[in-house]
Symmetry: C2
């Protein structure tokens, strides 16, 4: 595996895993005041589109990363709507 592929994998790992501490903090505190509703509405839609795009183009890294991110983004969005 070459260096650019490794950089892409490291990038995908960071941007995907980053939503885990946010989801955990949101579930634990139920405090969503400083989280933007338009951000998570648009971001969740975008991640769903990335997932569809990844499946459509048989791009496994894209659909795996976005499948995970979609679940985490949906949790944060659901808490934002419920505890606004």
């Amino acid at each position: 595996m070459n260096t650019s592929t490794l950089t892409g994998l490291a990038a995908a790992f960071c941007t995907t895993v980053s939503f885990l501490p946010q989801a955990l903090q949101t579930i634990r505190t139920r405090n969503t005041a400083s989280i933007s509703l338009p951000m998570y509405a648009l971001f969740t839609l975008g991640t769903l589109l990335w997932l569809i795009y990844g499946v459509w183009t048989s791009n496994m890294p894209v659909y795996i990363a976005n499948g995970i991110t979609l679940v985490l983004a949906m949790i944060i969005l659901a808490y934002k709507i419920k505890y606004k």
Copy 2:
């Protein structure tokens, strides 16, 4: 342009632009209590790696989308560190 490419562009548009309302809300309110510091630290690093990967592999959609997201993520991260 085929339908899968359009889906990818729509996905990139949504996930990139989504950070704008979050950055604007954070700048306006300076309230960052429910924003996760580990999320934005990891996400900013990931976006920087995506930018490097995009430039490295001459993938314009990747480096343009992540260049914009990096600026927005850095603003949110800076406010989180300053107003925690």
